[in-house]
Amino acid sequence: MALDRWIALILLGICLVYGYTAWFTMDASLAPFMKRNPIWPSTFPKALSVLAIIACLVILSGIEKSEPKEAEIDYRRLHEYKLGQAVLLLGLMVAYALLLRPAGFLFSTTAFLFLGAFILGERKWVLMVVVALIATVIVWYLVQEVLGIFLRPLPGFLGG
């Protein structure tokens, strides 16, 4: 089974859960005065779930045949691309999300830009540090001072 049909199967699962919630669990908690209304909060989701399940089944059953065409990236040969770099960068983004508050903006952003370039294979150490530092400070200044959005600059234990 090709990837697009696997995805359709997963989406079908999501739609079934969504539909179950809309059809069977939402209306019970509705107050009596709301039940007099011609439309309930579950009405629109009910219609959506039916349509979405039909669309999933159409893809799954393969009624609409598609010619396999040259995709930009062939997922069947994903390992031939730079998958390692992509996964590492995603991991770096997650680490950034977790560290942004505790470690402060200045430290985590500099580290993010430095390590991002490192993962992609850059080895000009001085240039990497300088670019990362300058960019971090400029962005922090723009966001904090010009846009007026608070970003904690330093790690918590330094009183940032």
Partner: protein
């Protein structure tokens, strides 16, 4: 209209808004030039900045400037590197790149700039004429018609936007609508589908979703598969075009600006379709000798898609500004930004806040002029951006994606949601599921449900569907749009089988 023009001119000519036009065009050109980053990603990244400015006219002017700047920049990399930065400029590389190979890069860039200018300007004139007309018709619409009109728009997008697979585009649209129902609902403000998670109470963040759908997958694709591009080392010189050349492309420009504009107005068909269709039409109209030139550096073959894609960009603002229904992913993002700024585009926009409407139109003229006079002489220098090493570029793109989502919500959980959705979106992109319908569905979901709920309440049931002929008509059109492509595919298949049997 004259009064409106003057209001618009007054707003657009303020120092701040002029600066916004220039900044938007320059940023758009810079980033649009980078292969792989489309206008949707750029606008998604720019949205937090635009929203925090607080002034809707300035924000829309900035984002519109980024939009056509990106299309302009995309054609530069198409011509110089044969690596289109934007899908709408792929057709420009057919003849633009051969011209650059023949050492006529300067001339090709000039033709691209002049044609973009002409297409954008004529498009803006047409917008000025048609938008008020459409909007006065739209004032007669009832919420039932709005509901039906949005269904038509969404099905048109599902029918045209995908790569010919209507079911996939439809499931993505429905998924967008489903995601829009998460959070506090239209009725009684009851929280729905939150699974008890507090962070979902206010629904998914629109900026987060826009970043996750467009910017992140595009950046990941750049990591996975570094684009092999030619080099732009050659000096760009000789920017002049001769009088004879100008005369030969003038009718092309005239035809393609009108055709491109109307294609842009249609939901689902945007700059990409307009440019390919423009190229094909001009090729058929050309004389025999000229036809042989197409694909080998014909100036007409470059002028046609360049004019058409810019005119289509302008045309796509018509449904956004008059009906409040975006016809493309890019205008859907613009709609989201406007809603965040407490402006609801639609027929009332021209009455309630005419300065926004007219200022955007005036800024289009100014923006096109800026692109022509500022970018054209600077292009040889701006093209240097193409030599920024990707090792530095990609971490910055990822960082701006994260920052955009963070600034919007000031919530680090949002970043995890962003990465999660980004991975899902990349998988969907692998499997050839179109992503734009999902975002359009998500943005329209709330408005669609509101209008549906209002008509249900007014008619005490679903009877509005058959009691209002216009609603019924629109819904029938929507059904035809969805069913026709598969029906035609089946007929074609049966015919093909018949041929095979006869053999």
């Amino acid at each position: 209209m004259l009064e409106g023009l003057l209001i618009g001119l007054q707003t657009a000519m303020s120092f701040q808004n002029l600066a916004m036009v220039i900044a938007g065009c320059l940023i758009g050109t810079f980033i649009g030039m980078l292969p792989g980053l489309g206008p949707m990603s750029i606008i998604a990244i720019m949205i937090p900045i635009a929203i925090s400015m607080g002034d809707p006219s300035a924000a829309l002017i900035l984002l519109a400037g980024v939009y056509y700047g990106a299309i302009f920049g995309g054609s530069t990399s198409s011509i110089l590197l044969n690596a289109p930065g934007v899908a709408g400029t792929v057709a420009s590389s057919f003849d633009g790149y051969p011209m650059a190979r023949q050492g006529k890069a300067g001339k090709a860039l000039t033709i691209a700039a002049v044609c973009s200018f002409a297409g954008g300007t004529i498009g803006a004139v047409l917008l000025m004429v048609f938008a008020p007309m459409l909007s006065s018709v739209a004032l007669l619409f009832h919420s039932a018609e709005y509901f039906a009109l949005m269904v038509v728009g969404l099905s048109a997008i599902a029918a045209f936007a995908g790569t010919g697979q209507v079911a996939k585009a439809m499931i993505m649209t429905l998924l967008g609508l489903i995601m829009a129902t998460v959070g506090e609902g239209a009725l009684f403000n009851l929280p729905r589908f939150t699974a008890g998670i507090m962070d979902l109470q206010s629904g998914f963040g629109f900026i987060t979703l826009a970043m996750a759908m467009f910017a992140l997958p595009e950046a990941l694709f750049l990591v996975l598969k570094p684009k092999v591009a030619g080099s732009a080392e050659d000096e760009i010189k000789d920017l002049r075009i001769s009088r004879a050349e100008a005369r030969s492309i003038a009718p092309v420009v005239g035809r393609q600006s009108v055709q491109g504009f109307f294609i842009g107005v249609l939901p689902g068909a945007g700059a990409t379709i307009a440019s390919f269709l423009g190229y094909a039409v001009e090729r058929n109209l050309a004389t025999k000798e000229e036809q042989a030139e197409f694909g080998k550096g014909s100036i007409k073959g470059l002028a046609a898609p360049e004019t058409a894609n810019n005119a289509a960009c302008t045309g796509s603002f018509v449904p956004l500004l008059t009906l409040g229904i975006p016809g493309s992913g890019t205008t859907a993002i613009l709609l989201g930004a406007l809603i965040a700024l407490n402006v609801s585009p639609g027929p009332r926009l021209m009455i309630d806040e005419p300065q926004i409407f007219w200022a955007v139109i005036m800024s289009m003229f100014i923006g096109n002029l800026v692109l022509l006079i500022l970018n054209l002489p600077l292009i040889p220098y701006i093209a240097k951006v193409l030599s920024i090493p990707r090792n530095f570029l990609i971490p910055f793109i990822l960082f701006f994606t994260l920052m955009g989502a963070y600034i919007g919500q000031n919530n680090a959980t949002e970043l995890l949601i962003l990465v999660g959705f980004g991975v899902c979106a990349t998988a969907l992109k692998f499997a050839d599921y179109p992503l734009a319908p999902l975002l359009i569905g998500f943005i329209l979901g709330g408005i669609l449900e509101n209008n549906f709920a209002r008509s249900m309440q007014l008619y005490d049931g679903v009877s509005f569907i058959w009691e209002r002929p216009m609603t019924l008509g629109l819904l029938v059109i929507a059904a035809i749009l969805i069913l026709l492509p598969s029906y035609r595919a089946r007929i074609a298949k049966r015919k093909a089988e018949g041929v095979a049997d006869g053999d």
